[in-house]
Amino acid sequence: MMMFYWISLIIVSIGFTGLLFRLVKGPTIADRVVALDAIGISLVSIVALLSLIIETEFFLEIILLLSILSFIGTIAFAKFLERGEIFDRDNNR
């Protein structure tokens, strides 16, 4: 069973390397943001596999934290791409 977890971790890491390739190469900024979003999600599964391999449950709190941080980062980047600023200011008050 431990061997199976190790093989899964290696395959997910290969996928992670492919996402890093897109993050470095991506022609536009949106490509890089998409790659960063996928990297955040892939990191969650890597943490879950690591906690299975080391046999500890303390890593499981990181999963929720990483998913929330990844989502907030994606939204911030998307707003920045769309408007050019992250926080909307209402100047007409």
């Binding site: 998409v34 499981l60 791409l81």
Partner: protein, 139 residues
């Protein structure tokens, strides 16, 4: 060390749970690999968003479910945060993909040459026309 010794005990329940974990984990890992393949091979931001949001969500969902079942049925730890993380990822990952695609279209990134039809262009023109009409009526 004691945990791993306890895990070595061969009982029919452990075998069934291990088969379940192996099935879920294989699906998840396969979909993670498909995500990377799609992000490398597809020609366009929008198609890449499609690959990155859907298949990676399913992949991480299966991996987290396998980890949750392992900790619950083999180690005896019922972790509620895992359930929250699974539901949260299931809701938010496609939303993030949609937002990136929309922002990419708004910032003027071209679609790929193979694209057959582009509905967003007509919708944007209609919206802009409606906005202009509203402005003229206000003045």
């Amino acid at each position: 060390m004691q945990n791993s010794l306890r895990e070595e005990r061969f009982s029919i329940e452990t075998t069934i749970v291990n088969i379940l974990i192996i099935l879920l984990m294989s699906t998840g890992v396969l979909f993670s690999l498909v995500t990377a393949l799609g992000l490398i091979r597809l020609p366009d931001v929008y198609t890449r968003t499609h690959a990155a949001s859907k298949s990676s969500t399913l992949g991480v969902l299966c991996v987290l479910l396998a980890a949750f079942i392992h900790f619950w049925l083999i180690e005896g730890i019922f972790n509620t945060q895992m359930i929250i993380a699974i539901v949260f990822l299931f809701i938010t990952a496609p939303v993030g993909g949609h937002l990136i695609g929309r922002a990419a279209y708004m910032s003027g990134i071209k679609v790929a040459e193979e694209t057959v039809r582009d509905d967003m262009e007509g919708a944007l023109k209609e919206q802009k026309k409606k906005l202009m009409d509203n402005k003229t009526t206000e003045q």
